[in-house]
Homo-oligomer: 314 residues x 4
Amino acid sequence: MPRLAFLGPHATFTEQALRSLPESVGAELVPCAGSPAVLAAVRDGSVDAGCVPIENTVEGAVPAVLDGLVADPPLVIVREALVEVRFALMARSGTKAGDIRTVASHTHGIAQTRGWIAANLPDAEVLLSTSTAEAAAQVARGEFDAAVAAPIAAEQHGLEVLADDIADNPGAVTRFALVAPPGPPPAPTGRDRTTLAATTQNRPGALLGLLTELAVRGIDLTRIESRPIKHRHAEYWFHLDCSGHVAEPAMGEALAALHRRCDQVRFLGSYPRAANGNSTPATTSPPGPVGEADPAAFAAAESWLAGLRAGSFG
Amino acid sequence: MPRLAFLGPHATFTEQALRSLPESVGAELVPCAGSPAVLAAVRDGSVDAGCVPIENTVEGAVPAVLDGLVADPPLVIVREALVEVRFALMARSGTKAGDIRTVASHTHGIAQTRGWIAANLPDAEVLLSTSTAEAAAQVARGEFDAAVAAPIAAEQHGLEVLADDIADNPGAVTRFALVAPPGPPPAPTGRDRTTLAATTQNRPGALLGLLTELAVRGIDLTRIESRPIKHRHAEYWFHLDCSGHVAEPAMGEALAALHRRCDQVRFLGSYPRAANGNSTPATTSPPGPVGEADPAAFAAAESWLAGLRAGSFG
Amino acid sequence: MPRLAFLGPHATFTEQALRSLPESVGAELVPCAGSPAVLAAVRDGSVDAGCVPIENTVEGAVPAVLDGLVADPPLVIVREALVEVRFALMARSGTKAGDIRTVASHTHGIAQTRGWIAANLPDAEVLLSTSTAEAAAQVARGEFDAAVAAPIAAEQHGLEVLADDIADNPGAVTRFALVAPPGPPPAPTGRDRTTLAATTQNRPGALLGLLTELAVRGIDLTRIESRPIKHRHAEYWFHLDCSGHVAEPAMGEALAALHRRCDQVRFLGSYPRAANGNSTPATTSPPGPVGEADPAAFAAAESWLAGLRAGSFG
Amino acid sequence: MPRLAFLGPHATFTEQALRSLPESVGAELVPCAGSPAVLAAVRDGSVDAGCVPIENTVEGAVPAVLDGLVADPPLVIVREALVEVRFALMARSGTKAGDIRTVASHTHGIAQTRGWIAANLPDAEVLLSTSTAEAAAQVARGEFDAAVAAPIAAEQHGLEVLADDIADNPGAVTRFALVAPPGPPPAPTGRDRTTLAATTQNRPGALLGLLTELAVRGIDLTRIESRPIKHRHAEYWFHLDCSGHVAEPAMGEALAALHRRCDQVRFLGSYPRAANGNSTPATTSPPGPVGEADPAAFAAAESWLAGLRAGSFG
C-alpha cells in the first residue's frame, strides 16, 4: 500500500486536495506537521509521495515549499490539484449563533473571514489554532464554541455547519502539488505544466535571457517568482511555471538551453494541468521572439534538418 | 505633528523598522491591526503615511501588501527600511529555562524558531498569538511563561531575554515600506529603487516584452513576482522592483514605454535603496538587448538628437 | 537658382528621377561623372543637393553610395524617388531592326536585356558604354546602330524607339535619393522613412541589440545591409531604412538609444516615402519586444510620466 | 575528371579563386559567361560545381548570385575563397607608360583605379571591356595599348606588368563561393561558416525574431542583406552568413527553429571559413538573449535532459 504524506492534521485543505487525486485511492495518508516535514518524509523514503500547498490566490506562493523544492536531493511534482478554499463556520450540534463566544481557526482562516466575523459575530473572541482542522478538533473536544475551517473538517469531527462560504474574498483557490522522488514523469497529455527553478548571474538582462529561451520555443509562463538565495547577496532563484511537458521537444530544448545558460537549473516536474488551471493561448504565426511549441512543427523541422545533414534535399 | 501608521501592535518588527527612518522623528506613531488597515488609514487621510512589511527573505513577499498597493486610490512608497529579523526568547524576570512550560509567538516566529525550541525546550507547549509583540504582552501579563519576539518587545514589556538570535535561519531580513499618498518623489540619490506593477495581455511573450522595455534602457530588476488578478482567469499583476528613479531619463522612458505597452501600469514609488539593498552591477558596453541607463549618456544622446532635429549637425 | 547635381550624363535614369521631384523645378541640373562626384559636389558646396541611385530591385544596393553617405562631413537624404527602370531599344530615325549590327549600353542595361537581345538581335555585336545615356549619344553621333537606354534618352538625342519595355525582368525599380547638407528635415507627413547607419562592437548579439531598440519603439525596418568597414577586420556598418521620422517621438527615442549603444551612428535623413514605397503594416497590441510607435500613444505616456514626476496623479 | 565552372573568361579573379581551392586540382575548369550561367550549369548537371563571386569589400554583395542561390532547384556552397583584388596595369612587352593612349578594363576595374589612372595616365582614353581578362586579351591582340586586370591575366596573355597594386583602395577582397548540388556537407572543422536565406511575414519584429533564434543559440552573424522578393511588395529574402556548421547542435537547432518560424528558409551550405574570414568573438557567460554555441555545452545539456526524461537524476 503506497504511503502518501500531507500537510496535516487530518481535515485540512491539503488532505482534501490529496483525496481528490487518483493516487490517494487505496493509499495510506500520513499527516505531517508542516510542509518541510512532508518534503523531508518524501526525501527520506518513509513515504512514497507527499502533498503540499504551493500557492494560494489570496496568500500567494508558499515560500517554505518553494525553498524546500530546490533543496537536495531532488524532488519532482507529479500531479497538481486545485481546491477552492471554502471556509465554513462550524460548531457542535445544537449550538446557535447567539451562543458563540469563542471562534478558533488558523491564521489564514481568520485573515480571510475577518470581515464576516466582525459583521456576524461581533462579540466573539477570536483564537488562533495551528490549523483549521485543529480548530475543528478543539471545538469537537469542547475547548471552543466554533471553528472556521473547511467543510470537510465538520464531517470528520462530527460538527454542524452554521454558515458556509464565509470568506471575504470568495473564489480563492489553493494549488497543491503531489511531490515524489525523481522518476519517469507522467505521460504528456497535451495540457501539461512544467515547474522549474533557475539561478543566473546577477546582472542586467539575465532574467530576460532566461525568458527568451522559453519564448523562442513557444513556451508560455503562468507564474514567476524571485526568491533570494540565502547568504548570496542580490542573487535569486527564479521559480517558473510553464506550459508544456519535458517529453515534448519544445520543452526539452528549452530546458537544455537553460542548462547551458544558467548557473543552476532545477527541473521540478512535468504533470497534467488541473482542470481550471491557466490555459495557454494559441500561438499563430508568432512575431518577435515568440516561437512555436507545436510538437508537429518540431518534428517537421527535425526531419528537414536530418535531410540537410544527410545532403538529401532538393 | 505628522501621524504615521504601522502594522501594530507596539514592539513589532514594523515599529522597529519605522523608528529607524528619519520620518519617525517627532511623529506620532499609530499602530493598526493588519497591513490592510495601515494602507486604508493612509488612503482615508487619517494618517500621513504608513509602514508595512513588503517582503521577508524567509517568508517571501507579503501578498496582502502587494495586492493592497495596486488598489485604488494610488499610493506610493517613499522610503524603505531593512530590518534583520532577530528572534529572542523572553520571559518575566527571574524565570529559568527549566521553568518554561508554555511558549507563545506569532505563526512566523514559531515557524522560524521551530528547530531551536525543539532542541532547547522540548517539553514546552507552543501557543500562537496574533503578533510577536502580543505574545510578549501576554507573558508580561502572566498568561504564558515565555515569548519568541523581537528584542524590542522585551524592552517595551519589561521582560528579560533568556536567549537571543534563536532563529533556525539566522540572517533573515524583512524589507519594510513607508507608503504615502501620491506626491513629488524623494530626490534621486544615485542609488534608488523604483517599484511598479503592470498587467499585460495574457499571451506568450507578454512578460518578455515588458522586461525588454526595462533592459534596453539599462534598468535592472531586483525582484519579480506574478500575482493572479482576481476574477480574471490566467491574468496577472507583475510586481517589479527595479534600479533607478522616475526622475532619471532611463526610468522615465521605461515607464512611458510600459504605459504604451501594458493594459495597466502602476508607479509605486521611487526612493533611496536601504543600505544593504541589492546592488546594481555595473553595465559596460552592453551586448544584446541590455542598454545603458547612465543619465549622462541620456543627456548626450538628447543633445545629439536635438541637433539632428534642428538640422545643425556636422 | 538652386543647383542640383545628378549622376550624369543627361538622359540617365537618375536625371529622370531628379526631374520627377518638385525640387528640380526651376533648378539648374548639373551632371556629374559618378555618384562619388555627386556627393563630393554637395559636400564642397558647388551644388545645393545631388541625386544618386541608392538601390535597385535587380542590382541591389549601390555600395559606392552607401559608403559615400557615411563619409565626412555629414550628408542627409531629403527626398526619395522611385523610377521604374524601363529599357527601350532606340536608333536613328529610319533604322530598321534588320539593319542593326551594333548595340551599345551600360553594363546594367546589357545585363538586364541580355535575353531580349539574344532573342531579337542574335547577330548584333554588343558594346559597352559608360552610361545608357552615353550609348544613346553615341548612336546619335553615328558611332553605333542602336542603344539600350531609358526612353528619355531617345527624346533627348532625337532617336526613335524601336522596341520598348525590353527588360528581361520587367518591373525593376530603382530608388534614388536627393542628398543635401545637414539642415532641418522635411516636415513629417505620417508616411516617412528614416535612413541611418550604425556600427557596433563585433560580438554576438550586437545587431540584435540594435534592432531591439527599434522594435520596442514600434519602428519597422524596410531594408538592412551590412557593409564591411575598411581596414577594420570583421566590423560592419549596418545600413537601415526604417519607418518614421526623426521629429516623431518614437524615432527620436530610438535614435537617442542608438547613440548610447553604438560605437557610431549616422542619421542619414527623414523624408516622405515615395508613392509605392514599402508600407508599414499596422501594429496592434504588440506582443513580445515589438512596441508602439504611434505619436498619440507617446504623447499620452509623456503626460502620464509628467504627472508621476510632479506627484500629481491619482 | 570533375568539371568545375567559373565566371569566365580565363584569367578572371574568379579563375584565380577557383585555382586556389583544392577541388581545382585535376579538374577541368569551364569558363561561363556570367554568374547565372555558372549556376545554371551546376543545376543542369553539365558541371559538378561552379565558382562565383559572392561579395566584394568595395562593390558589396553580388545580387545576381544571391538571387540565383535561392532559386530552384537548391544549390549549396561547399567552399569559399578570399582573393585580394589586386589590379595591375599591363601592356605588350616593350610598351612604355608614355606610349599608352588607350586603357581597357571591366567597369569595376575602371571604377577601382580611377584615381590612379587620372594621376598617372591623364591623357589616356579609358575603354570598357566585358571583363578584366578580356581587356588583357584585347591588349594582347593589339586592340588597345594597356589593360587594368589581375596579375594572372598578364601571365596568361604574355603581357608585361607596368605597375602593380594600383587600386585606389588597396586591400579590397572578393569572396568567392564554390557551389554544388545538395549533398553531405564538408565535415566540420570548428571554424566554419553557414550561409542561409529566409523570408518572414512582413511585420514589425519579424527580423528581430529570426535573429533571436540565432543569438540564443550563440550563433554569430558575419553578414546580413535584405533582398526584395520579386513581385511581392515589401517582402524580403534575408541573406545571412553565420558562424558554425549544420552538423553542430547549435546550428542544427537554429535551422530547425527558422524552419518553424519562417515562411521559407534556404540552407545554402556549411563550409570552412577561408583563412582571413571573419572571426567569431569568444562568448563567455552570455548575458541577455545571447546563448552558448559550444558543442560540449550542448552535449552536456542533452545528457542532462535525457536523465530528466528517464527519471534517473538526483
